[in-house]
Amino acid sequence: MEFLVASAIGILTAGGIYLTLRLRTFPVILGVSLLTYAVNVFLFASGRLTVGAPPILRDGVSTYTDPLPQALVLTAIVISFGMTAVVVMIGLGAFLGSDDDHVDDQPQTDEDRSEDAS
């Protein structure tokens, strides 16, 4: 199981980094989403992998799973979900406004700037 989880995190991260380096809005957002999935699984595994063990103290149970990473991962999921929604909206606005979905700086002329300055 350790091997499966570790390689899942590795593949998600590798895919995320590759897509992030494409420098166009859509692949980059997908890549960042993959990275956040990878980090969620990673956080989950940071409390050690245990199967079928309860997180809360109970009589007659000797192995427990760590409940804290589950709380951390919940926070991380909510935050990354919200952030992705924000970046989709801003990215969409930028694409519709300038008809260009490059993430990196494109060479700018002075006319562009004075037009956009407000």
């Binding site: 960042v32 956080l43 940071s46 952030m83 700086d105 700037r113 956009d116 300055a117 407000s118």
Partner: protein, 514 residues
Amino acid sequence: MNHWIAAPIILPALVAPFIVLAARYHIGIQRVLSVAGVLALIAIAFGLALQAFDGTITLYQMSDWSAPFGIVLVADRLSTMMVLLTAVLALFVLLYAIGSGWDNRGWHFHALYQFQLMGIMGAFLTGDLFNLFVFFEVLLIASYGLMIHAGGNARLKAGVQYVLFNLIGSTLFLFALGSIYAETGTLNMADLANRVAQIGPEATVGIRVAAVLLLLVFAIKAAVVPLHFWLPSSYAEAPAPVAALFAIMTKVGAYAIIRVYTMIFSPDLAATAGLHGYWLMPAALVSLAIGMTGVLAAKHLDRLVAFSVIGSMGMVMVSIALFTPAGIAAALYYIVHSTLAGAALFLIVDLVRTGRGSLTLTPQAVLAGNALTAAMFFVGAIAMAGLPPLSGFLGKLLVLNASYDSPQMVWIWAVVLGSSLISIVGFSRAGSILFWKAHSVTPEAEAEVMARPHALSYVAVGGLVTLLVAHTVFAGPVHSYTTTMAAQLFAPQPYISTVVDTPGKLSIPKTGDH
């Protein structure tokens, strides 16, 4: 328990939704509420700073859960000073936003502004690494909204870059936190300091990875080269008051580095020794050099100021990377200076934009309100370039003095002095093109007359400039205070025992308690 420590976080968190819900269509009421909120924040921050002045460390346990199970807020000298600096900066920036009308060019400026303050205050006061992540996210999500305030294609495009870069930074932060938790089983800073010190020399692989990841995350926030690429576009395109408030955001990164790398991964911890000397110092020197070269190379005034912010962060990081009490004391003095100078310059850029219509560094007709704006630019540029008599010069002197005994002394002195010269040339070139050469250009007959900036705008910039002068005049007391601050940081035991040993719910019973 003293509840006032939570007030700098709670107050903006209450004011912001109130502004959205009760006053969303009344810009006047929003302004009154926002200014009142910031004034109250200054009063609270001042009270907290007074309380911490004699070295008292105050602890606030959320819901009385004791550390490391609950979340704690801690107010010591460093965090209260940063809170006070943020509150004072916020007031002048807010006055500028109101005076220049920036707050009325889009929706919800004041609400987002208060949320931003809440995040920054929380990041300075928290004593828990995961909570630090959460407050980073609070301040970031508010800053995304502020960054694209008033819209415009260039601003949205810069906003996409800014958001994506910070999303990747947040992901890295989570990776770092995951590795720290896996290695130590805690995320409370004081508890971590105890546990990291107990890790045997043969089992340090995980914690060393975590230390480097965490340093990368904070370096992204502090815009240290080569992780600075998000800064120039987003600061240049952001609305001026927002860029001025962002001057404190890079300092949040510097603050986090100081806090974590003096307490948890302290300089004499064998596992991570050398991290700052081998990695942080060269990166800081390169940031200083690149930032100040950018000042000379910039073709637009807003980019010029953005690069000067990178350069001044480089200076702060050089001083931090020494990791001696003298170095940290100099860095803290310089942090205050660079926040005020950076914010003032961003506001002056907007004064130029209002009076001239363009920020291109080419001779154009004389801008409206030339003399006063020019005088303020002159003061701001002197401060930022580090010429006598203002605080930039004193700060630089302190950094040079602190690095005198360092083995890298030659490098530090060469880069600091060389980059100063370059930035002086850059600033004087920009100033003479903008304000002097303008007189040789005959304005076109039908050129539209630009309006003079509002008086309140000048009051706000003048206030920041006055604070800079005060920071210079009272350099002696301020520096001796930052020296005691550094001494407190380098003797973290009182901090750790305050956090870990204060009883609360679920605290570990001491022997003899039962």
